[in-house]
């Protein structure tokens, strides 16, 4: 099926999509500038309008469908073409940037897993073929028998690799996370993966001072970004201030990995852990002299600690629950006066 995108400013792009394929994924595979953020039916960023042709819903109950105002509006990530389609996109269509690799469908198998905090699991997937991805990008994972996919950011970073590491949280009514947490053993589970995708990425070569504010498993993509900050040598010229929010000390994970980043950075990378529901124990503080602990909502703690510390080269990365991202955004734009072009995040809520 031929899909013709009509963007703002008389820009157009054309790509092919099969009748069973998600229009978003076909477009991304072919390098079209299709709008998206979560890629899994919750954020509504891939909303477009039909000019002509027919489409069908693959997941009619997608939460973001509630945002649509007309039957001509639909979500590229949850619909497939039934005939040739002409679609209106509300932004200008830009030519594809020279990225390392276009997203594609891959297969993989979980080969390692661990519970790292209550309701938080890390797992690693061995892919059938190596890929490259940018720090901060994510994959959509599907498992047999579970409807729909879930977007999870990679925690590792490598220029070219056949292993991807993830950290996931057990979500109330999260079909896929429930499924994985209910397995006695996830090792050997096979997955279909689409990616890499996501625009909140970090290029180590870029001369930027990083401010990373993350809550819970929103830390996933930050781990990849921080690994690249170290591996690229960016720490020799830039600083990174990392703010990691969890509820209580029992919910904390990635402590040894974060400690290692601090050590490797020779002081350029600082990590503060903020507990929203109580103070750090004396034992935790004593065992982690390289980390700082504080109490409160992580974006509020971050703004308090960073007052007067932002630089003209600051770039902020945000990830976590929507109230954290919205709160941090508000403070970074209005109080810290960070340009909107230097605040990066992917909304999943």
């Amino acid at each position: 099926m031929k899909v013709e995108l009509i963007g703002a400013g008389e820009t157009t792009q054309v790509y092919e999509s099969k009748a069973s394929s998600r229009l978003l994924y076909s477009g991304l595979k072919e390098g079209a500038d299709v709008p998206y953020e979560c890629a899994t039916g919750t954020c509504g960023t891939c909303k477009v309008k039909r000019i002509s042709g027919e489409f069908s819903w693959l997941w009619a109950e997608a939460p973001a469908r509630a945002l649509l105002k007309s039957t001509d509006d639909f979500l590229l990530c949850q619909c497939a073409a039934s005939t040739d389609l002409k679609i209106e996109v509300r932004s200008k269509l830009k030519p594809l940037k020279a990225v390392d690799q276009r997203p594609q469908w891959l297969t993989g198998e979980i080969y390692a897993a661990a519970t790292v905090a209550p309701g938080v699991m890390t797992f690693s997937v061995k892919l059938s073929q190596p890929i490259s991805f940018m720090p901060g990008q994510f994959m959509v994972l599907e498992f047999a028998g579970i409807q729909g996919g879930r977007a999870w950011s990679m925690t590792n970073q490598a220029k070219f690799t056949d292993t991807l590491d993830f950290v996931i949280k057990k979500k109330p009514q999260g079909l896929l996370s429930d499924y994985l947490f209910e397995q006695e053993n996830v090792i050997g589970l096979k997955a279909n993966l689409f990616g890499p995708i996501g625009k909140a990425v970090y290029e180590g070569e870029l001369d930027r001072d990083l401010v990373c504010i993350a809550g819970g498993t929103g830390m996933a993509g930050m781990m990849s970004i921080l690994a690249a900050f170290i591996a690229s040598g960016a720490y020799l010229r830039n600083r990174a201030d990392v703010f990691f929010g969890v509820r209580t000390p029992a919910d904390l994970f990635f402590v040894s990995e974060l400690r290692q980043f601090v050590e490797q950075s020779k002081g350029a990378l600082k990590v503060l852990v903020a507990f929203s529901d109580g103070p750090a124990s004396a034992a935790l503080i004593a065992a982690n002299p390289l980390l700082t602990f504080d109490q409160g909502f992580v974006h509020e703690v971050a703004m308090r600690v960073m007052e007067g510390q932002f630089t003209p080269k600051t770039r902020a990365y945000l990830a976590g629950p929507p109230p954290l991202v919205d709160g941090a955004l508000r403070m970074l734009l209005l109080k810290a006066r960070i340009p909107a072009t230097e605040i990066l995040y992917d909304k999943f809520g």
């Binding site: 703002a8 709008p35 509504g44 960023t45 909303k47 105002k69 200008k92 734009l333 072009t341």
Partner: protein
């Protein structure tokens, strides 16, 4: 020209804004210094209601994808690719009215 009462000037905070329900959708009214400015209350990008937008008295930022506009001219800044849609308002004493479409 006929017009519809929207609010009192004092309903709009200094260097703040509010979004009102009007007959054909949403109307955003912002204050900047001594001026009042009226725009369509939906973002021209993805039609998100701008009631949750961020505003510093000069620049309005949509909270979804950070499109920004100069509040006096409605012209795009930063990531934005298009202007806000102007709505004709007038000040009558201490009130703000929306001019009815001709």
């Amino acid at each position: 020209m006929a017009s519809t009462f929207i609010c009192k000037k004092s309903d709009i905070p200094q260097d703040g804004f509010k979004v009102f329900d009007v007959a054909d959708g949403k109307l955003l009214i912002a204050n900047s210094d001594d001026g009042y400015y009226g725009y369509n209350g939906y973002c021209p990008h993805q039609e998100v209601c701008l009631a949750e937008a961020l505003y510093d008295g000069k620049v309005l930022t949509c909270h979804e994808h950070l499109w920004q506009w100069d509040i006096v001219s409605g012209e795009p800044q930063g990531l934005a690719e298009g202007p806000l849609v102007t709505k004709p308002i007038e000040q009558i004493n201490d009130e703000i009215h929306l001019l009815d479409a001709a």
